[in-house]
C-alpha cells in the first residue's frame, strides 16, 4: 500500500475543504503517520473473507406510504443561513 501517494491538498479538494498551507502541511504529516500504521491491515490474510459493512445483518424496513405530520415549511427553514419567500437562498450556481 503506497500511502506516500497521499496528497492532502488534493483529497481535501475532493471533500470540499479549503486548507491553509499550515494545515495542509500538518495534516500531511499526521495522516501519513496514521496511514503507515493502517498498513498493518495488509498483514492479515483476508482471502475468502466476506466484507462486513455492518455490525449486524440488516434488512430493509418498510412502512405504509402515507402522509404524516412532520416539519412545517417554517420549521424546516428555521435554521437556514439565508432564506426568502419561504425558500432557501443558495449561492448562484449558473453564471
Amino acid at each position: 500500500m503506497a500511502n506516500s501517494d497521499l496528497d492532502v491538498t488534493h483529497v481535501a479538494r475532493l471533500a470540499r475543504l479549503k486548507l491553509t498551507d499550515a494545515e495542509a502541511q500538518l495534516f500531511q504529516e499526521q495522516l501519513a503517520h496514521v496511514l503507515q500504521y493502517a498498513d498493518k491491515l495488509g498483514e492479515v490474510d483476508v482471502s475468502g473473507v466476506e466484507a462486513a459493512a455492518h455490525a449486524i445483518p440488516l434488512f430493509d424496513v418498510f412502512r405504509e406510504d402515507e402522509a404524516r405530520d412532520w416539519f412545517t415549511p417554517e420549521e424546516a427553514l428555521r435554521n437556514a443561513p439565508r432564506q426568502a419567500n419561504g425558500l432557501f437562498v443558495v449561492t448562484k450556481v449558473v453564471e
Partner: protein
C-alpha cells in the same frame, strides 16, 4: 436530605424521595441548577441549560412514571426540540433542533425532565473533549486532566454531582472511556437496541446511544427508558426491550468471564493492569469461572476502526454544506468556494483530518486496500467474538489503557490518541454491548485517578452483562468514592 446534598443522590434514591413526596421534581432540578451554576465554570461539563422550560416540565412531572420527575443531562449531539444542538462545532453554533430524538421522546414519556446539553469532542470525534470547539471539559478528580471523550461533558457532570445521570453516544468507546476516566458507570448497548433517530450521525454502522450513571442500577434504569424498536431508525432491532434491572442482584456463581491473552500488551499502565488483575481475582471470589480466551485479531482493531469510522464520517459530514442549516461562509465566489470555505470555517482540525482520511480510504485506487480490507477484518473480529461468546458470558479488560491524562499532553499526536481506544472499539465493530465500572485508582503525581473495568457481553445480552457488572460493583466500594469536587454530605461537614 438538604437541597445542597440532593445532587449527590442516585437516580434510584431520587425516585424514592420523589415518590415519598419528600422532595419535588422542581426541587431536584433547582438543586442541580444551584450546583451547576456554582461549580461548572471550573469543569465545563455543560454547553447549554434551559431551566425555564425544564421547570415547567418538572412541575407537571408524574413521579410514578419509570423516570418520573428525574432530570437527565443530554450530550449535545442528541436533538432536543427547541434547544441548541451544537455538536461542539462552529458549524452548528447557532443551530436549534426542530424535533426530539427518539431517546428524548422516550425519556419524556417515562417522565424524565430534560434541562441541559453536555460538552463533547466536535461531532463526537475524540477521546478527551479537547476537540470541542467551545471548551475542554476538565476531570472532577483532577482539573489539570481531561474528562475523557467524546461524552466527557456527560461523564464529568455525573461524576461532579452536576447531573443525576446523562445520555452519551458511543462510536468507539465514547461513553465507556469517559465514564472510566471519571469514575462512574457508562454503558454501550447492543447496536440497534436504542434508536439513533435524532442523534447527529458520526459513523452510522458504529454509533449507539448509551447511559452514564453513578452506578449500574441507574444505568439499567436509564436503558429501560431509552431502549426498544423505532420505525424511524431502520437499524433499530425489532426486538422488544426487556426490563434490564431484573437480573440485578442475582448470583454470578458459575458464570464464565473471559480474559484475553492479547489484552496483556505494551502500553497498559502498570497501575491499570494491577487493578484489573485484582478485579478478575475478585470476580473469581464471587464464584465466576475465569476462562482464558483468544482474540487473535486484537492487534488490527484500531487500524480497521479508524479506516471504517473515518470513511463513514466523511460521507455523513458531507451534509454540512451551508445550504439548509449550519454555518455559511460570507460572500462566496461561486459554489465551490461556498462549499470549501463554509466547511473550512465550520469544522475544527480533528474533524477535517477525519474527513480527509475517510475520503482518501474511499477514493478510487485505495478503496480495496483500506476500506474493503478493513471491512473484511471487521468480519474476522466478529468471528473472534462469536467464538468467544460460545465459551464465556462476558469478557473483562481495562476500559482505557491509561488513566486520565493531562490537558494538552496528547493533542499533537492523533495516532497515540487513537491507540488508546483499543479495548472499547471491538464492541462497536461487532455490535455487542459493553459497560465500564470503577475498579480502583491510580496515584499519578499526587492525584488519585479512577480506573475503569470493562465488561463486554454478547449482542442483546445486556441484562446478564449488567448482572455481572452489578455483582462486581456492589461487592466493592470503588463506585462510592467521590471526587474532591463532589458534594460533601452535610452531616460529614458538621
Amino acid at each position: 436530605m438538604t437541597p445542597r446534598d440532593l445532587p449527590a443522590t442516585t437516580v434510584a434514591e431520587l425516585q424514592d424521595l420523589l415518590r415519598r413526596r419528600e422532595v419535588s421534581s422542581s426541587e431536584a432540578l433547582e438543586s442541580l441548577h444551584v450546583r451547576i451554576e456554582n461549580i461548572d465554570g471550573g469543569i465545563g461539563a455543560y454547553l447549554s441549560r434551559d431551566y425555564e422550560t425544564a421547570r415547567k416540565e418538572s412541575q407537571n412531572a408524574d413521579v410514578n412514571l419509570p423516570l418520573g420527575g428525574v432530570p437527565i443531562a443530554i450530550k449535545d449531539n442528541i436533538n432536543v426540540a427547541g434547544q441548541p444542538c451544537t455538536c461542539a462545532s462552529r458549524m452548528l453554533r447557532d443551530y436549534r433542533a426542530t424535533y426530539d430524538a427518539t431517546v428524548i421522546r422516550k425519556l419524556r414519556a417515562a417522565g424524565a425532565v430534560i434541562f441541559g446539553k453536555t460538552n463533547l469532542d466536535e461531532f463526537a470525534m475524540g477521546s478527551s473533549t479537547e476537540n470541542s470547539n467551545i471548551r475542554t471539559t476538565l476531570n472532577p478528580w483532577d482539573i489539570s486532566r481531561v474528562a475523557g471523550g467524546s461524552s466527557g461533558g456527560s461523564a464529568a457532570a455525573v461524576a461532579a454531582d452536576e447531573a443525576f445521570a446523562a445520555l452519551g453516544s458511543d462510536t468507539g468507546g465514547s461513553v465507556r472511556q469517559p465514564a472510566g476516566l471519571c469514575g462512574i458507570v457508562g454503558m454501550k448497548p447492543t447496536y440497534g437496541r436504542v434508536s439513533r433517530f435524532g442523534l447527529t450521525a458520526f459513523a452510522s454502522s458504529l454509533d449507539q446511544i448509551g447511559p452514564l450513571a453513578k452506578n449500574v442500577r441507574d444505568a439499567a434504569l436509564l436503558l429501560n427508558g431509552i431502549a426498544g424498536p423505532d420505525p424511524q431508525d431502520s437499524t433499530s432491532l425489532n426486538q422488544p426491550a426487556p426490563d434490564f434491572t431484573v437480573q440485578l442482584g442475582r448470583d454470578i456463581r458459575g458464570l464464565r468471564v473471559g480474559v484475553a491473552k492479547e489484552h496483556s500488551m505494551d502500553g497498559v499502565d502498570p497501575q491499570v493492569a494491577t487493578a484489573v488483575a485484582a478485579a478478575v481475582d475478585h470476580l473469581a471470589s464471587l464464584g465466576a469461572e475465569i476462562v482464558d480466551i483468544a482474540l487473535p485479531h486484537t492487534d488490527y482493531t484500531v487500524a480497521a476502526y479508524y479506516v471504517l469510522a473515518t470513511a463513514e464520517a466523511s460521507a455523513n459530514l458531507a451534509r454540512f454544506d451551508g445550504v439548509r442549516y449550519g454555518h455559511r461562509a460570507e460572500k462566496p465566489h461561486g459554489l465551490l468556494d461556498h462549499y470549501e470555505r463554509t466547511r473550512a470555517e465550520g469544522f475544527g482540525p480533528e474533524v477535517k483530518r477525519r474527513i480527509i482520511l475517510g475520503t482518501y480510504v474511499l477514493s478510487s485506487g485505495y478503496y480495496d486496500a483500506y476500506y474493503l480490507r478493513a471491512q473484511k477484518i471487521r468480519q474476522l473480529i466478529r468471528g473472534d467474538f462469536a467464538r468467544v461468546f460460545q465459551q464465556v458470558d462476558a469478557v473483562v479488560s481495562p476500559t482505557s489503557p491509561v488513566p486520565a491524562f493531562k490537558v494538552g499532553e496528547r493533542e499533537a499526536d492523533p495516532l497515540q490518541m487513537y491507540l488508546a481506544d483499543i479495548f472499547t472499539i471491538p464492541a462497536n465493530l461487532t455490535g455487542i454491548c459493553g459497560v465500564s465500572v470503577p475498579c480502583g485508582f491510580a496515584e499519578v503525581d499526587g492525584a488519585r485517578l479512577p480506573i475503569g473495568l470493562q465488561f463486554l457481553g454478547n449482542a442483546l445480552d445486556e441484562a446478564r452483562l449488567l448482572q455481572i457488572a452489578f455483582a462486581y460493583e456492589q461487592s466493592t466500594n470503588w463506585h462510592r468514592a467521590r471526587p474532591p469536587l463532589a458534594v460533601v454530605p452535610t452531616e460529614a461537614n458538621a
